[in-house]
């Protein structure tokens, strides 16, 4: 029990951010027209590409060859997520605009 309480105290900032972000996420997209579901999903998909930061940190401190290979792979995958995600979303939204 004490462990759990201590965990909360030690990580209170993180817990705060997590809870507020959850509400924010819900609030931000709760009134989306169905038309935008696909682009929105794709855009959100690109945003979780932020995992690339973790990949960069891992790669930045890799020392063995094995770690470097895995780190390299992680950065490539993260970049794919980011670039692919944003470019696809842009491509979808570009079409919505063209109709004028």
């Amino acid at each position: 029990m004490e462990n759990i309480l201590e965990f909360f105290l030690l990580n209170r900032n993180v817990i705060f951010i997590v809870i507020l972000s959850i509400f924010l996420g819900i609030e931000v997209i709760s009134h989306v027209p169905a038309v935008l579901h696909t682009p929105l999903m794709s855009g959100a998909n690109a945003i979780h590409g932020v995992v690339i930061i973790g990949a960069i940190i891992v790669m930045g401190h890799a020392e063995t060859t094995g770690a470097m290979i895995l780190g390299f792979l992680a950065v490539v995958l993260g970049t794919l997520n980011v670039v692919g995600g944003f470019v696809v979303t842009d491509r979808m939204l570009e079409m919505f605009r063209k109709k004028k």
């Binding site: 989306v32 169905a34 999903m41 945003i47 932020v50 930061i53 973790g54 944003f86 079409m95």
Partner: protein, 478 residues
């Protein structure tokens, strides 16, 4: 969770960059949910991402050590950008759902790799102090589990949407899945309660856990099929968000944390909204009741009646009101442009043409809107199914092009049908119905469609693109 011990301007700038990046993510997501600002929102979020990446490469420090291997990191980013850009630009709009799934999987895999690489590096002081049961270990294990499931699941979803993986529906599957999930959670508890000096001793368990998570991810998506695919992709999307947030917790990195959680929660809501559009509950989707029924469908369906091209052309040209119901068949045949030609031609003849868009037409909500927008169909001509339904009794001809489940009256009549309760376009209310189809195959949900046997229905068999082209020629020659 290394706390900043010393003030340094580099670290301050890094943290400020993260604050900006987080704000840009939030603004981006907000703007993405409005039609007019959506594109700018996407670009804003991308700017936030670039800012966070550059700041991390040049300013991040872990235990007072700056990021090394910068050359290799930039090379990896270059490779990823080149591949991602080419794939994203080249792939046809019809393959969009697969693509989202693919990129989502990449993010999940990256999260899993981070966990695998960080696990042996958990500091021995931390382990000596609080054992394996600490926040860092939990974040790593959850990141591994969720990231891997998201990756494996997304790859299966990708394969299914691309048509090279079929559905696998076995009744016992949900119990198997539940058992595997329990095993995964068991692994987390097991690893966290070990008494070791260094986490590296437990690496074998990490690899086994990774393998089990892959199996779970595959089996989780395997039985899900039909119109439920987009829901699964959306769900996996939010999984990857949570996995990314675990990385944020691990590195005490606010950009990863806010970005990940934001996608996690927004993705969950989006998933629920999609389910609602289909009148299905998330639990149903996951457990996979869909397609389980269907045996009860009657076979005394009767016969279908065909219509010739010239008759169809005459019927359309002399109507006052025509409603087109486009489906995935139109999309795969890449017939959206020729379809727009037909509607322009009819409008010239004074026919009022509208498109009835079902929320799940295509393979993803909004997919059909994207495809028709690509063909320059004016936005005003696209009407959502709820709005068009009351208008259908006054519609002279309703043309179904490559759609099936979204016009299936079984959703209203047949309580035993797996799609019972799904809101549909009430096609049979129209005065005449023309159905363009390749053959008598069933829709994605694999159930019979009584609409095709309706007295008012005439079938026009053939590939959507070819048939539409011939129809355009016929209408022109009238």
């Amino acid at each position: 969770m290394n706390d900043i011990t010393q003030f340094s301007s580099g670290i301050s700038i890094l943290e400020i960059s993260y604050v900006f990046a987080s704000v840009l993510f939030i603004l981006g997501l907000k703007m993405l949910s409005h039609p007019l600002s959506a594109r700018r929102g996407n670009i804003l979020a991308a700017i936030g991402m670039v800012l966070a990446i550059i700041a991390t490469i040049f300013l991040h420090q872990k235990d007072e050590k700056p990021i090394g291997n910068i050359g290799l990191i930039l090379a990896a980013i270059f490779v990823g950008t080149a591949i991602g850009w080419i794939i994203a630009r080249r792939v046809k709009m019809t393959a969009m759902p697969q693509l989202v799934s693919l990129f989502n999987g990449m993010g999940g895999a990256a999260a899993a790799l981070i966990s695998i690489m960080e696990f042996p590096h958990i500091s021995q002081e931390l382990i000596a102090k609080s054992g394996m049961a600490n926040g860092q270990v939990l974040a790593i294990l959850l990141g591994l589990m969720i990231g891997t499931v998201s990756w494996a699941g997304s790859m299966v979803a990708f394969g299914k949407l691309d048509g090279w993986i079929g559905d696998m529906r076995i009744k016992a599957m949900k119990y198997v899945n539940l058992a595997i999930l329990t095993v995964l959670i068991g692994f987390i508890v097991f690893i966290m309660t070990r008494n070791v000096q260094a986490s590296i001793e437990l690496m074998p368990f990490i690899y086994i856990m990774f393998a089990v998570a892959v199996i779970y991810g595959v089996l989780f998506v395997m039985p899900i099929g039909g119109a439920d695919m987009p829901v699964v992709i959306s769900l996996l999307n939010s999984f990857t968000g949570v996995a990314a947030a675990m990385g944020g917790f691990l590195y005490n990195n606010q950009a990863m944390l806010t970005g990940g959680i934001l996608v996690g929660s927004a993705g969950t809501i989006l998933t629920i909204l999609m389910c609602r559009a289909m009148n299905r509950s998330l639990i149903n989707v996951i457990i996979g009741v869909f397609g389980g029924g269907g045996q009860t469908n009657s076979t005394e369906a009767g016969s279908v009646k065909e219509i010739s091209l010239s008759d169809a052309a005459v019927l359309l040209s002399y109507s006052r009101k025509v409603v087109i119901v486009p489906g995935y068949g139109l999309a795969v045949a890449q017939a959206q442009h020729i379809c727009h030609d037909l509607d322009k031609l009819l409008e010239e003849k004074g026919v009022e043409v509208k498109y009835a868009i079902h929320p799940v037409a295509g393979r993803m909500p909004g997919h059909m809107n994207v495809l028709l927008a690509e063909a320059d169909v004016p936005y005003e001509q696209l009407v959502e199914s709820d709005e068009i339904n009351p208008d259908l009794p006054n519609t002279d001809v309703l043309v179904v092009i490559g759609a099936n489940d979204v016009v299936n009256p079984a959703a209203e009549d047949d309580p035993s049908s797996p799609i019972y309760g799904m809101p549909i376009i009430k096609a049979r209310d129209a005065k005449n119905i023309i159905v363009m189809k390749r053959g008598m195959g069933k829709g994605y949900a694999a159930i019979e469609n009584m609409l095709f046997f309706n007295d008012k229905t005439r079938m026009l068999f053939g590939d959507a693109k070819g048939t539409l082209q011939n129809l355009v020629n016929e209408v022109k020659s009238l």
